[in-house]
Subunit: 197 residues, 2 copies
DNA sequence: CTCGAACTTCACAGACCAGTGTACTAGGAG
DNA sequence: CTCCTAGTACACTGGTCTGTGAAGTTCGAG
């Protein structure tokens, strides 16, 4: 039960080479885009041969999926920690907005899942299920907190909070608005106040 | 002054070949992604040679920019028409949300500008200026309508409406939520009601 | 009749792409 | 000693990528 022995989030055990491959791939995929980065580059920058990369991950598509999964796990851990620390259900519903600002400071290229969606039009791609699942998860977190807070229509309101959250992610990067997270939080609070008034 | 003689929006005059190239490129770029579509494919599907494509557009990057510009012009025309038909400033501020549902019915892959942003990490790419400018334009449209409506802080509220709008675009496609546009409109109306109360 | 715009054909360059086959080495555990 | 895991080295396949060069065709307007 030693939690997180290698300090990289709750990613399953990886060999040292695989760890380096995943770290390098994450940085390059996020920074330059998935299609724009070749496996040769990833292998070279990891100090590993392409053979090792394919022995560990099987294909580029699966490496892409591993990259998105690891990043998603880091994000979820952050959100869950904040939600668990919240004093009441309303603050718990706002927890994702509380951590969003800090997260975006290290994520100037926006949401990796949204960006990946843009590059992976095939609905059968293994990463696509992961992408929709993450959005569903966040929406459910909103809904559960709102239901516990006793707002009239938690499902509708959860959908609206999700809109604000995704909007903040994309507006921060695409529209180059550094205040997007704060604006989303205050809008969310306004909607909550309005609904519970 | 014959308006829009070829029914393709106010795109500048193009030769017949260039018109077909742009139409085909728009469809393929939007549907499959920019990096995933080669100029050979575009030329072949347009019934045109690669030579013609390069004679007309100069480079793939400029063709990409032309695609985004044409699509943006169609979207802006739709919004402006709805805003001009609005009976009062508040309805004018909601106009983008009114047309969003219908627009998304023909745009199941989400916002072409957001998708393009994901694929074009280089800030110097000619399309990047176009992308940020479009978001700035929409925000200004919100702000002007809200100022005329006399809400207390039109600038802040305009930013929040933009969040809802971008959030609806991305949630509709990425989170596969067909009700995103309606949810965004009702959230926007709630924020407006709250602000003007 | 001539000029020019639009377009064709086709070969070519030079780079990059994902992915595989074969043979080899270092180190730890049973 | 022997087996297993992780990794190395490296050539190679078959394909795609953007972009260019050179020469020829079609057709309408002046």
């Amino acid at each position: 039960m030693t939690p997180d022995p290698d300090g990289h989030g709750s990613t399953p055990r990886l060999t040292p080479g695989a760890r380096r491959i995943l770290d390098v791939a994450s940085e390059l995929f996020y920074r330059r885009g998935i299609h724009a980065v070749g496996v040769d580059t990833i292998a070279a920058e990891s100090g590993v041969t392409k053979r090792t990369l394919y022995d560990r991950f099987g294909s580029k598509d699966e490496l892409v999926t591993a990259y998105l999964r690891a990043r998603d796990l880091r994000w979820r851990a952050l959100v869950v920690a904040a939600a668990d620390a919240a004093p009441d259900p309303v603050r718990r519903a706002l927890a994702p907005f509380d951590v969003l600002g800090g997260w975006l400071d290290t994520s100037d290229r926006g949401c990796s899942l949204v960006n990946a969606y843009a590059e992976l039009p095939d609905p059968a791609h293994p990463a696509r299920a992961l992408i929709t699942e993450e959005k569903r998860w966040l929406r459910e977190l909103f809904r559960a907190a709102l239901a516990e807070a006793g707002v009239p229509d938690p499902d509708t309101l959860a959908g609206q909070l999700l809109l604000l959250h995704e909007g903040a992610m994309v507006t921060f990067s695409v529209a180059e608005d550094p205040g997007a997270a704060a604006a989303a939080r205050s809008a969310a609070a306004a909607l909550l106040g309005h609904a519970s008034a």
